[in-house]
Amino acid sequence: MRAAIAALLATVPPVLHAQVRVVNMIPAMFGDETTWNPEPTLAVHPTDRSLLAASSFLLGTDVCEGRNLSPMLVSRDTGNAWSVVCNIPTPGLAGLPPQDVVMRWGSRGRRLYAAFIWSLPDQPQSLQVFSTNDVFSPRPMQFLVGHDTVDQPDLLVIDRHGHDRVMVAGSYKDSMPRTAAILWADDPTGPMQFKRIDLEHRKIGEQDFAVRLDAHASGRVYALYDAVPLEYKHNNTTFLDIVVARDDFGGASKNPFAALREKPRPSSPANCPIGDGLPGVRVVRCRPYAYDGWGAVRDTFGFQRRVPVQLSVTTDPTDKRGNTVYVAWADSSGSDHQRVTVAKSIDGGQGWRLLLSIPNAMNPSVAVDSLGRLGFLFQQLAYDSVANRWVTRLLVTRDDMQHAREYVLASTPALLDLVRAQPYIGDWAELHARGSEFLGVFSAANIPDSANFPNGVTYQRRVSFADRMLLVRRPVDDSLRVDQLAPSIDPFFFRVGPAESPRCSTLRSSVPVGTTPPSLIALPREISDSTRRRMSQIGCDR
């Protein structure tokens, strides 16, 4: 009996007991797909811990209802297994799936909302917003609102007197100059019409990129957006201001998103002054950006296009007043292709302190858990003697990046033959906090190589780790033969628990006393000591 139990335990994947779980999200019966799946989004149900929804540039042309529906991904077991569900209406679907998809659950989990960009016959860049009260329904999601000429939507759903207040932020390109704006409505499945809030109060060159939102339980809503400063409108290089706006009444103030103003002060520096007294505090100004809208097949940045979508904002739930807020963005310096920076404010967005900058990185995403720990997710291009690699890293800190647990969730090769189109692995990744754990999604090459996943990985599709191959079943001679399937870019889900890895104590005991920990910006491959390197991959306290 004991032997039988031991044998049974031996078959249980060790990942089930780990503090870190990484899952390839392509379902088992969808495992013959070879499309590329960048731009992942994740909706975390607020009350049902097991229920998650996601999307990642999924094409359903030959699976769902012909040209009418596209799929989303749904998990009912906290991300261990995923199913494709055909329910996103996409009339006229041809070669491309819905783009820039963002999904969020309503404040009490009654409805799932999805916003995305869809090409209509007379409007190639139309915002579409849908919702459903049953993600497994055989019926398509319900249409809520559409708006022409919008890019990079973000969704925020907050509770307002028992109803969902839905905000859809984005770059609204139907005004001159193009501007950051929000459409919002209370209980949008009812008769209420969506109203519009323009966030920009300054004369700018244009706002052509993205807006990101986050809400605090106090009712404060923060908006983070970028804008091309007027001074650099006609410059050959892209320059950006990174701006934070705030509304203290759930986005519905009489003068919405004007609660935060720059303190008037003498202009300095002369070419990019801060302190004009207008709504919206500019965290940084006139930052150069290596804009590369379509990318190039032989691009030096890991085949990834560089567009300034890269924004993230989050509040600290342990600060009852909602004054503690973090932002992250991407810009560039002379020594990197693109870098990500995280900054913190403890006075509601008025003053900012830079915490950390990571070179050659993108897709920053920040979240704070119920313990007040900041999570900072990004994807960093690393060079080694073999190939460029995209390294997906999560830092979790209690002390503003003085110390942090580091997790390498994936380190996958950037391969030319995986370049299907742009973006390569996507313009964003997502990090969420629920209780004391972090959940998120990112996209990466799907080659099943254990060396690519230092914290382990679970695939649902057929793979051979021994041969580092995706597998496909072919019918031959009235039987099924297993062959190699072409690799591609897949979405990955991850979940990181609050405890330190049990392997850390053993590793730590072999580190000489007094050894200085490596810098947080150092890639694991740059750490010569193998014990320290391993500790920097699996989230050991330092």
């Binding site: 379902p27 088992a28 019966m29 969808f30 495992g31 013959d32 797909e33 070879t34 499309t35 590329w36 094409l59 359903g60 042309t61 030959d62 699976v63 769902c64 209802e65 012909g66 040209r67 009418n68 529906l69 799929p71 749904v74 009912r76 297994a81 995923w82 199913s83 494709v84 569900v85 055909c86 009339p91 041809a94 070669g95 491309l96 497994f136 055989p138 190039a296 097949v297 032989r298 030319l416 033959d417 370049v419 299907r420 189109a421 649902q460 496909v472 079943r473 072919r474 019918p475 031959v476 001679d477 009235d478 099924l480 062959d483 190699q484 399937l485 072409a486």
Partner: protein, 307 residues
């Protein structure tokens, strides 16, 4: 399975997958056999799944997360006529079918289901678009798929004004996502005339049997640039390029052969050969001398051998 049944199965399956995506799905659950011939082509275009199945249980579900209801039935497919590429082989595994009603359905019956994807995870759930009792529909299905309006006939018609037929199997180590990326690769090479990158090392069915050198007009229509060339696994990465005499119209993707130049007129001229056996069969029926020998390395889809 009897010899005749095997033959029927092979014929049906061989003809199954040239289907092009069509207009919105019909929602009729029950279609009489008399109307089948007229509706089959539309069903094939609007359905993503088509299979013959044994009904196992009414008001049941095989998909975790999908509760059994008056609209769900559990079935086991015995023959898959249409297989979504991402799903691959699924015959023999229990499925859940969402139906508007269960009229005339009973356990152990055999039915043909035309359906769209609903939930696909560890198991498959589909929404039925239409269904036919198998015993009555087998012959009609065979007649339609092999008849004058079937995919084979349509392909033959398409070939009649085609000058060159180029088939190719995409190699794993080449850039082959879509027309746009292929063009980008050519631009980066700085080359003005290169071999089609997605047909490397493959059979060229041209009158002279040679390879086709090509150059691309960069001003390709946006819709064609985004045309996916690789939506299918390696086993099915066979493409069929139908080349026509070029008019050198701006915006065409032009390939310059020896004389005259040729072009791909639209995305419809780039076909994925999921049903390669069917394609080979049609090509073999064309007059000798017009095209080369049919390729021999095709693999049919949906679990059967070429006819």
């Amino acid at each position: 399975m009897s010899r005749s049944a095997t033959s029927t199965r092979r014929s049906l399956v061989a003809a199954c997958a040239i289907a092009l995506i069509g207009p919105a799905a019909a929602h009729a659950q029950l279609i009489t056999i008399d109307r089948l011939a007229d509706s089959l082509g539309k069903l094939r275009r609007t359905s993503t799944f088509a299979f013959r199945a044994r009904v196992d249980t009414l008001h049941a579900s095989t998909v975790p997360g999908i509760p059994a209801s008056a609209h769900t039935i559990a079935v086991t497919p015995t023959l898959a006529l249409q297989c979504p590429h991402a799903v691959g082989v699924y015959a023999g595994q229990p499925l859940t079918v969402y139906v508007e009603d269960t009229t005339r359905l009973a356990p152990m019956q055999e039915w043909w289901f035309f359906a769209s994807g609903w939930v696909i995870g560890d198991h498959i759930g589909v929404r039925s678009v239409a269904r036919f009792q198998a015993a009555r529909a087998d012959s009609a299905l065979e007649r339609d798929f092999l008849g004058p309006n079937g995919p084979r006939a349509q392909l033959k018609h398409h070939l009649e004004d085609t000058v060159f037929v180029v088939t190719g199997r995409i190699s794993l180590d080449s850039v082959r996502p879509n027309v746009g990326a292929a063009i980008q690769r050519i631009i980066n090479r700085g080359a003005s005339a290169v071999s089609l990158p997605f047909t490397r090392g493959s059979v060229m069915l041209a009158p002279d049997g040679g390879h086709v050198d090509s150059t691309f007009n960069v001003a390709v229509p946006f819709s064609l640039i985004l045309t996916p060339l690789l939506q299918v696994p390696d086993a099915y990465q066979h493409l069929l390029f139908l080349l026509h005499v070029t008019l050198n119209e701006p915006g065409n993707l032009v390939t310059n052969g020896p004389k005259p130049p040729f072009m791909l007129r639209s995305a419809d001229d780039i076909l994925q050969i999921a049903d390669s056996a069917g394609v080979a069969s049609v090509i073999a029926q064309l007059p000798k001398g017009q095209l080369g020998a049919p390729p021999t390395d095709f693999v049919a889809q949906c679990g059967t051998l070429p006819p």
